[in-house]
Structures are given as C-alpha cells and as structure tokens.
Symmetry: C2
Subunit: 412 residues, 2 copies
C-alpha cells in the first residue's frame, strides 16, 4: 500500500506566505487600481551586481565550449569557491579555524536548513525561538520531531523560546534541555541581534548539555554594531556545538540564482543510539553526496566574483542600499508613533501593532489603508502575535512612498 | 544530546564513484603518463547547445537590470517552463493527461529521487531492480527502510529484483508485495529497456497491489525502438500508481547546470496510518515549498530554449552524437569477443566480464591494460557482479581510441 509519511498529515496545509499572497491577490482583484508596495516576503529588488553578472556570462561561455565545459561538479562545491569563502568570510574576520573542507556549497540556506534534519535522530528534542522562520518548525514537523499541534498553535514536542519586547528579544535558557537549538541572528523576523556575550551564553549552554546549535546567519552582512558576532565561530567552543548556515540571497541578491553554504566543523560530534561517536561532517557529506549533485556551476562561478575586491565593493553597496531603507522605515514608523524594533543590524523591521490589534488585523489594516503588504507576526509563531514584519528590500522610491503613506495615517 | 540518525551509521561509508575515483587516482599517481579514458561515471562531455547558452546569457542580462530582475521564483518552477514540458515532452507524444500543474521543476533527478522519500512512510517496503542506481537504495537506507545490511551486500528489508542475462534483464514480479517500486528505463546501469507490454505488467501489478512506482526516465531521449515507452504515462492506469522523474542532464548536458523535473499526477493517492486518503501531489508540493526554493532562474531560462524548434534540433544532435558512440562501443566490444548488452536505447553498455572475472577485477584489468575507466557492476548490486558498465558520453575521438585499445587486447 502507498503509505505516506503521517507527519505531513498533521501539518496545516497553508504556508504563511501563500496565505498572504492569497489575501493580497483577493484585495487587488477588488481594488484593481491599488498601487501595492510589497514589504511582506523577504525578496530583494536590486539587480545582481556587475561582478556576479560577468561571472554568469563567463560561466555560460565556458559551458559553450568542450574544452572549458563543466559537467558534474563536486557535490560539496568547487574548491575555488570554498577557498574564497574560508578566506574572505572567515579568516579575514579572524576565524582561521574554518577550513574549506568544512564548507559545503548548496543551492540555498532554505534547502540546507531543511535537509540537515536528515542526519539527526527523529527523537531529538528541538528548541526554536518564537517568533521563528517557519521552515525550522515545519521541517521538524515533517520529520516527526514536533509531536502534535495544539489549538494554541504550539507543537507539543517543540521547545519554544519566546522573544518579545518584554525580554528585549533575547531568548532565555529553556527549562527542558533540547538536543537541537535553532538560532537565527541577526534575527528573522524581529531584526534583533545577540551580542557576543549573549551568544556565548548559548554556546556555553550547548556545550554543557551536549546540544547542537543550528546557527542561521543569512543576514550577517547587515550587521553594523561591532559587538554583534558575524559568525557563531567567533565564540570559543562553537566548533564543538554549532553548524552555521549562510546565504548569498540577501547579500548578493541571489534569491533567484540559488546559492548558500553550510559550515560543519570536524570538531562537531554526535552520538548513535549505541553511544558511538561520529563526526556530523561525515554524515552531512554522505547526505549531500547521495541526495544532491552540487549547485549550478554558473552560479558558483558568479559567486566567486563576489570575492574579488570589485565584487566585495558592489555587495557592500547593495547591502548599504537596503540598510538606508531600513533606517528610513525605522525613522518613518517611529515618527508616525509606532513602536519599532530591528532594522539596525538587519534588513527586517519588527513593529508592534497599535491598540492591541491582532497581527492579521494590522496586516489587513496596512493593506487596506496604505496598500502596503507586511507580514503578520503571528505567522512566525505565537509570540509574534501583536507584531508585524516589514522588510527593507524594496527600492528607495517604494520605501519613501510607503513612509509617506504611513505618515498620512496620523493625520486622518 | 546530539543524537544522530542511526540509519546513517549502518550505511557503508564509501560511495561507488568515490571508490572508483580513489583507485583511478592511485593508478595515475603511479603511472603519471597514462592516458586515461573515463567511461565510468555517467558525465557528459559535449558542451551545452547554443540555444541553451543564449538562454543563459539572456537570463544573466535580465538579472542585471532591476526591471527584469527575477528574485524568488515559484518553488515548483516557472509556469512557462512547465507549460513547455507539458506540451513537448508529453502532449506531443499523445500524453495529454499530464498538466503543467503536475510538473515540479527541481535541481536534478538525483535530488528529487532522494527527497521523494520524505513524503512516504518509513515503514514502506521498497523494491529495486538489481543491479540498480545506488541512490535509490542508499536514500532508503538513510530513511530506515532498508533494514540491516547482510554480508552478501543485500539489505534485509529491500526486495531485490534480479536483472541478468538469464532473464533478459526483465525483472520478475516479486513474491513479497512491495509498497514502493523503483523502475529506471531505459535502465541505468544495464542500458536495457522494457517494452510497452513489459512495463504494463508492472503498472497492472502496482494497481492491483496499491503500490507506488517511482519511474526514473532520465534516459528516455535515447530510445530508438518504437515499442519502448518514453513515459510510464503511456501505460493506462499509470497516473494512479506512478511518479515520473526526468532530467536535463543527459539530454541537454545540464549535469553541471542542474535541472530536472518530477511529475506527480493528481490521480495518485496514498494513505495515512488511519486510512485517510491523500493526494501525493499535495504532499510533494508541501515538501518542495518548505524545503526548496526553486531551481536557478537562469538555468530554467536556458531550459526553456531547449523547447524551441532550434533547441530541440540541437538536443537531438547531442543525443545522436552519444548514440553513435554507443554503437561504436557495442560493435567494438562485440568484435573483440565480449558479450554486450544495452547501448541501443540507452547511453550505457553493459559488458559481461570474461573468464568469470569479478567486476572489480575486470575494472582493474581495464584500467591497467587499456587505461579505460569502467564501472564495476558489483557496485550497482549483487546481480551486477560479473558485469561492468561503459558509458557512451565520451567524445568520438576518445571512444575510437578506447575501441582500438580494446581490440588490441585480442592480439596479445
């Protein structure tokens, strides 16, 4: 009999962004002249920088000639790209322990964050911050680690770590000890960060409890404060307890090209049911060589150009462009009387809904009154209720218009 | 505690092609002047055709401008590519039932074949032909469906369907009823096929037993016989029992670009443990939207060009080029006194080892005497013992040289 994975039947079928898209589409249908500004989904708007574009063209030209054609590449990615990452994303920041061999190139952080569960026991207890990027929770629900979904929107086997304005968006250590802890800093969706000392608390906790930290640092390029770590490996001991996920999506605009990477240090060990100690590196390598055939050559070729002096300058320009939007949004929303978090070290702005409005109500309010699409905080988990997320990934022009519309709310 | 997926600890760590690479590398190290011809791994050598290259360049140019920039695309692939596939790969062959909505674009058949297990119960009993593409077995072993590995190289929960010259490489229906049956035709590694009547036996069996067929038709473009089906959906009833996997790797040389697609018909239903009936389409859509962010835009853009009249002509030329190699290999090996199978509807040649030599011994023999890399049949499963696989993906020149070296064996 075709027996399905029962865990899938326990997951609500609607995914946050599909539901937003549906409601926006319905609104546009009844309001065909509305000029919608989309600040909901975290997609970028700036074109790919010239350095990467020239890499794409060069890669295409190489694929057109037998003498320079590239077929199957290494499943872990090309050595030249792994070398460039080790040099520029780690060694240049003083993290000399990360070797190219520990870097796995993938087709994006979402895939790797979703697939990493393959190498972990279905018994692992998982902790997530709340609110949280839904992929962490949903992929664990699919693997049977979440248990059952309660009416309050919480899974009974997931350990939630509330992050609200009351605790300054800094998660407290849990009462139950998890086996796996997802941390995303700078945070999606709140745009907040952990400083070095705050992250050290988690590394120490993971080491003391032999837990694994899955550290999503997709937004590290947006960090402006010197005291905010770009990599978890800046914290002593992290190589024994953490896997780090990175993305080219928000730094270089590769959301459509698809590229990311995952660092699995050799020092990181897990245990079999019989107590056998095993390097997670070996398991992830086995997973990737068996179920993945490497990221596209032309995209890796383009990414390598991002590490040239010119490429790095261009990436910086793009990040600065979005951070100017973030500042505009922070200031504009604050001036309009809203309570605003994030946006300093991250491209996300986390806004408290006014008058105890629910986050979906405020989503509809913003859609109807300002024609601005935001993401309801409740879509990221129960502690996201009472907030919405705005992204800084629009154009300057759209961001300016959005601020004007928000400012106009006050005068009504 | 960091508890790992114990199933990984039961899988032998060496993967077939890595082991071959190691032995070839060792040989080259001690024989630096050897002119190695690689006919082991199934990678292509022809460059990407001009139509697809122009698609890559056009895609890159679009990514360079804000007005034509493409960020996150649909996880299932762009509609224009799904439409082209439905029209040209299905409707034009008389299969009008496959709709674009049933086609999921992915980053290659290996990923989809590996990930499809996510939506199936870990309890499913799996049947594979033997010899077999190792990914089918290894990915099920990782998911706990294979049981334990015996000394004879067989997993105790996998149902093996031997395909040898004794049964004409046509698998017999199993005694134990499987829940999931992997069929790959034209076959990797044997290069043999099932005709319409032979495939119908399996569709009828799956329908009668409510089993799922995972049909890998990555090599359908190589079919020359009119009686060999290109798609399992040519067989009545297949929409109720089969998922089909296709690849752009061997047709258009996209091994390095990464693209494939998977067809999940809406008619295909599975069952939860409580008897709930569910469309596998819905589960795969949920899996892909949660754990995947779509294939690279520029690669999809390139693939769309393959469906223009010029693109189709160019793909045909590439396939014909490799099939000329296949014919050369078949004839050359036969003339040299070898027993040869496949190579008529597939780019793979399956050769019986002479003098009851083991397949790894014959691998080393071919490496040392002819400097030709072949794949030992035993690497594909116990019934592959006594055979080796050669691929037709080399250049004409290399194939000609290989045949000369093989012919020279006779005169020694």
């Amino acid at each position: 009999m075709i027996k399905v994975n029962d865990n899938f039947l326990r997951i609500p079928s609607s995914y946050l962004f599909s539901e937003i898209a549906r409601q926006v589409s319905d609104y546009c249908h009844t309001h065909p002249n509305a000029k919608i500004i989309r600040m909901g989904i975290g997609d970028v708007t700036r074109p790919i920088c010239p350095a990467a574009i020239s890499g794409l063209h060069a890669g295409a030209d190489e694929q057109a000639q037998a003498s320079t054609f590239h077929g199957y590449g290494p499943e872990q990615g090309y050595q030249w790209l792994r070398n460039a990452i080790a040099t520029h994303d780690y060694a240049s920041r003083g993290i000399t322990s990360v070797t190219p061999d520990e870097i796995f190139i993938g087709d994006g952080a979402k895939s790797d964050l979703g697939n990493i569960g393959d190498i972990l026991s279905p018994d692992c207890r998982v902790a997530v911050t709340d609110p949280v990027y839904p992929v962490y929770v949903d992929t664990n629900a699919m693997a049977g680690r979440a248990g059952t979904l309660s009416e309050n929107g919480l899974w009974n086997r997931i350990i939630y770590l509330p992050c609200t304005k009351e605790n300054g968006f800094v998660p407290e250590l849990p009462h139950e000890v998890p086996d796996v802890i997802y941390l995303c800093y700078p945070n999606n969706p709140t745009g907040t960060t952990l400083n070095r000392q705050q992250l050290k608390v988690w590394v120490d906790y993971a080491l003391a409890n032999n837990a694994l930290i899955l550290f999503d640092s997709a937004y590290e390029a947006y960090i402006t404060d010197a005291d905010v770590p770009h990599s978890i490996y800046e914290i002593p001991g992290a190589r024994q307890c953490a896997i780090e996920f990175r993305s080219f999506s928000k730094t270089a605009g590769f959301t459509g090209l698809r590229l990311g990477y995952t660092v699995v240090p050799h020092d990181l060990k897990g245990f079999g049911a019989n107590g056998e100690e095993v390097e997670l590196h070996r398991l992830w390598l086995r997973r990737q060589t068996t179920k993945f055939n490497g990221a596209s050559y032309v995209v890796q070729r383009a990414a390598a150009e991002l590490y040239t002096p010119e490429g790095r300058r261009q990436v910086r320009q793009t990040v600065d462009y979005y951070m100017a939007n973030a500042l505009m949004l922070r200031n504009g929303l604050t001036e309009a009387g809203f309570e605003v978090y994030g946006g300093v070290n991250a491209p996300y702005i986390w806004v408290k809904t006014p008058d105890a409005m629910s986050s979906w109500d405020f989503f509809r309010f913003m859609l109807e009154k300002c024609n601005i699409v935001v993401t309801p905080g409740a879509g990221f988990g129960p502690s996201g209720e009472g907030y919405v997320r705005l992204t800084a990934f629009s154009t300057h022009e759209a961001t300016t218009r959005a601020i004007e519309r928000i400012a106009a709310l006050r005068t009504r």
